[in-house]
């Protein structure tokens, strides 16, 4: 169960009317290393992991949904006041033809979100390494996005998200260490 707070995790301000950026940001919405994939990956994996790290997966998976909202807000702000012809000029003609002004979970190249994005291998170490890699890939994606805009306000929100990916990767690395030790300790049932 979740408790919803009707506010963003971190403020999202967009200062430049740049609908083309929405087409790039959507990568973090419905892409392979995006926030939706991350949230579902962790919240799905947590059931079968050793219980010492389940809470971590719950917390990070939940935070990814908060990030998903931030990305959605950015995309919405960048597209809501733009005419269909302007969307077409920005390279969003295909999106508008399919979805109108709605957001849709697909990547920057237009491939729809796919369930294989949230990998689950059933081996705790393997799953956690998958998660570390996912966080690092998301961090790299945010870096590319930051480099593709000169809107300092948008950059500010993206930098927050980039930093959170770093923190998540560190937490997952710690989880691996916890599981290594867990393996070494003698347990009597």
């Amino acid at each position: 169960m979740w408790v919803y707070e009707k506010k963003l995790q971190y403020p999202v301000r967009v200062s430049k009317c740049d609908p083309q950026m929405a087409k790039l940001l959507i990568e973090q919405y419905g892409g392979a290393d995006g926030e939706l994939a991350a949230a579902l990956r962790y919240l799905n994996q947590r059931y079968t992991l050793p219980d010492r790290v389940i809470g971590l997966l719950t917390d990070i998976g939940t935070e990814e949904f908060a990030h998903l909202e931030m990305i959605a807000t950015m995309v919405y702000k960048l597209t809501k006041d733009v005419t269909p012809m302007q969307l077409r000029e920005a390279g969003l003609g295909g999106h508008f033809a399919d979805h109108g002004y709605d957001l849709y979970p697909h990547n920057a190249a237009g491939t729809p979100f796919m369930a294989p994005y949230f990998a689950a291998k059933g081996d705790p170490i393997t799953d956690l390494y998958e998660d570390i890699a996912a966080e690092e890939k998301a961090r790299a994606t945010y870096q590319w996005l930051i480099e593709m805009t000169d809107d300092v306000d948008l950059q500010d929100s993206l930098k927050f998200l980039r930093q959170r990916e770093v923190i998540h990767a560190i937490r997952f690395r710690e989880a691996v260490e916890i599981l290594k030790e867990y393996n070494d300790t003698q347990r009597v049932f």
Binding site: V14, D18, K77, L78, K80, D81, T83, P84
Partner: protein, 71 residues
Amino acid sequence: MDQTQWRFYETYRSPYDPCPPLEPKRFIVPPNQYIVFQPENLPQCTPMQALQLGTLWPVLYSPYDHGDWRG
């Protein structure tokens, strides 16, 4: 053209929105939404009109005309 088929609504406008406003938002409710069971003996178009409009019954026709998006 028939403006009564359009519904308009306003969305939250932030003082920091990046693009100039494109308001109000709108969507169409075409007349077939109100004719759930089509009655018999409705007035019909001439064959030429029907070909042009794509329907035999004028009450089912929607021009989808909303003018300019910036309007």
